[in-house]
Symmetry: C2
DNA sequence: CACTGCGAGTAGACACTGTCTACGGTGATC
DNA sequence: GATCACCGTAGACAGTGTCTACTCGCAGTG
């Protein structure tokens, strides 16, 4: 009964997370989520005035998981006294791993048409992580007075890799090593050759 | 009457293009497209067995326009005897311009959930362009034995920039110059500093 | 204890969607 | 001129998100 006696709001979000994980974004109908949570289709309205706000709450959880994952990966690397380049590499790999491990959630998180209205708030939640990212890139490129642009370009590269992989567009560029060579090329391009 | 007497198949695709351009992907309902084309909601079924196949035809047109745009930009640059680096820059800028000028179509083209089944065929249509891209990168990096990975990484970077811009995520990294600094950072990272 | 009032969830209606099927009606062929 | 294939219409069907009664249980108060 641990599931049942939580308040409905949390149960609905949990049901959405289950559904998007198991079935994908297309399964996130309002009535479908309500069914999974064991309530009638009108019940969610008491907590989420519209379907999109419920989806935004699910996506919010996804952003939380993403930042937790990345922060964990960075803390692990930083704890071993790794240099900035290695820490960035750990972050990049964690980002791609998250997208690959949670394709449905990752897709939802960047479906701005489903998240309209809550988009800016969700984006804002990733800001602190982006700032540490900027700091690491700044450590690596001290000659640049503002590493924000370089960091954003690197992040866009990672995001594009994640997105195109789920679309299957990288099939002809990825061999048996999967996306590793592309990640390597990306990191080398933006950060210089790997430290040996 | 030039619109009316074309066969319905082409008129439906044209209506879809209009709708996605004017209103966005959300306006691409089957019945909405049929209304715009001036026929009943059952008519499309004669030519497109399912809604998704109609959307795939619309996206196919988008891919055609994209390859045309890029090929035109490259031919223009190549005609003036530009070096590979300049040609790549022209292609990259054309890609971002296309995404910015046709946000709805660009979104549709990479909505794999709407295009399921036709995805591989659509991807294949961009292959020749990708090959010329690979050739240009190869000219620029003769030391690499296979520039495919480097090209794919660069393309993923451009795609990520286009995608994140439409999502608004680059607002804090883009100043008054728009996306130009990020494009510059991307090209510098992947191709080396700009030729002077 | 009886009563009231409110909040949570139910259930049905509404307009809309994509798919399916039966039906007209028009034009080409024999 | 009759036949027939094909194109588009129109309605049914299950499903959706939203909106609106309504019911029921349980708190607080007399």
């Amino acid at each position: 009964m641990t599931e049942q006696d939580r308040d409905l709001r949390a149960r609905l979000v949990a049901a959405g997370i289950e559904l998007v994980t198991e079935e994908g974004v297309h399964a996130l109908g309002l009535r479908e989520i309500a069914r999974r949570a064991g309530v009638s289709h009108g019940a969610p309205r008491r907590y989420f005035p519209t379907h999109r706000e419920l989806l935004a709450a699910v996506a919010r959880h996804g952003f939380g998981r993403l930042t937790d994952t990345l922060a964990g990966a960075d803390a692990l690397a930083a704890g071993t006294g790794a240099d900035p380049r290695t820490r960035i590499e750990a972050l990049a790999r964690a980002y791609l791993c998250f997208a690959a491990a949670n394709p449905g959630m990752f897709e939802l998180m960047f479906r701005h048409d489903l998240l309209e209205g809550s988009g800016t708030e969700l984006r804002r939640s990733t800001l602190p992580l982006f700032r540490t990212f900027v700091g690491l890139v700044g450590e690596l490129h001290p000659q640049d007075e503002d590493p924000t642009a370089a960091t954003a370009a690197l992040w866009a590269n990672l995001h594009g890799l994640a997105q195109l992989r789920t679309w299957g567009s990288l099939a002809l560029a990825t061999g048996s090593d999967g996306i590793e060579p592309l990640l390597g090329a990306t990191l080398t391009a933006h950060l210089g050759p790997a430290t040996r």
